[in-house]
C-alpha cells in the first residue's frame, strides 16, 4: 500500500520508497512479509481443504503439516532468491 501511494505520488516519493526498501530494515520487512505470506498461503490452502472435508484423518493431517513445512522452505527460498537476483 505504501509502495502504491509512493508510486501514485510521483518520482520523488517513489525513489524515497525504493531507498527504504533497499535499506537493511526495508529488506528485513520485505523478507518477513514474504515468509509470513508463504506460510499463511500454504496453511490457508490446507485449511480450505479441511473445510471441504478433505485430509481430515490423523495420518493425512500429519502429512500435509509436514508438506507445508517443506513447501514453505522451498517456496520462500525461491521467492527470496528471485527477489535478490540483480538487486545490489
Amino acid at each position: 500500500m505504501l509502495g502504491l501511494l509512493a508510486l501514485a505520488d510521483g518520482l520523488n516519493s517513489w525513489n524515497a520508497f525504493r531507498q527504504h526498501c533497499a535499506n537493511w530494515y526495508g529488506t528485513g520487512i520485505i523478507i518477513l512479509f514474504t515468509l509470513t505470506l508463504v506460510y499463511h498461503w500454504l496453511n490457508g490452502l490446507r485449511h480450505l481443504g479441511w473445510d471441504s472435508g478433505q485430509g481430515l484423518d490423523i495420518k493425512q493431517t500429519y502429512f500435509t503439516g509436514k508438506l507445508v513445512i517443506v513447501l514453505f522452505v522451498a517456496l520462500s527460498a525461491l521467492i527470496i532468491w528471485l527477489g535478490m537476483r540483480g538487486a545490489t
Partner: protein, 125 residues
C-alpha cells in the same frame, strides 16, 4: 416461570441466521486471494528492477490495475476478518474488544480506500 411459549422464546432468542456470514466471507476472500497473491508476488518480482515510468505504465494497464485493486480490497477485507476473529477470541475485556474491533475496521477501510485511490490515480493519469 416464564409465560412465553417455547416457540416465542426461540423466536426471540434464536439464531439470526447470519452466523455463517463471517465464516463464508473469510473463505470467499481466501479463495480469491490464493491466485491473486501469486499474481502480486510475480508482478513485484517481474517489475523489481524496472524504473519509475515503466512500473507506472505497467500498473496503468487496465487488466493489471483491476487485478491489483481486487487483490488489495480482498487483502484488507480478509485481514480485517482474521483480526476480528483473533480479537473476539482472545480479548476478554469487553471495552477493549469493541475499541480494537472498531480501530481494525477503520484501519482496514482506510487502507483499502487509499490503495484503490492510488491505483486509480496511476491508471488514470
Amino acid at each position: 416461570m416464564s409465560l412465553r411459549s417455547p416457540l416465542g422464546r426461540v423466536r426471540g432468542l434464536g439464531s439470526a441466521k447470519e452466523g455463517v456470514g463471517h465464516w463464508w466471507a473469510q473463505r470467499v476472500t481466501a479463495i480469491a486471494l490464493a491466485p491473486l497473491s501469486i499474481f502480486f508476488v510475480g508482478l513485484v518480482i517481474y517489475l523489481m528492477n524496472d524504473d519509475f515510468s515503466t512500473i507506472r505504465l505497467t500498473l496503468a494497464n487496465p487488466f493489471i490495475a483491476i487485478l491489483l485493486m481486487s487483490f488489495v480490497v480482498c487483502l484488507f477485507y480478509h485481514g480485517q476478518l482474521g483480526l476480528q476473529t483473533i480479537i473476539e477470541d482472545y480479548v476478554h475485556v469487553r471495552s477493549a474488544e469493541v475499541t480494537l474491533l472498531l480501530l481494525v475496521k477503520f484501519a482496514a477501510f482506510l487502507g483499502a480506500l487509499a490503495s484503490v485511490l492510488a491505483l486509480a490515480r496511476i491508471a488514470l493519469t
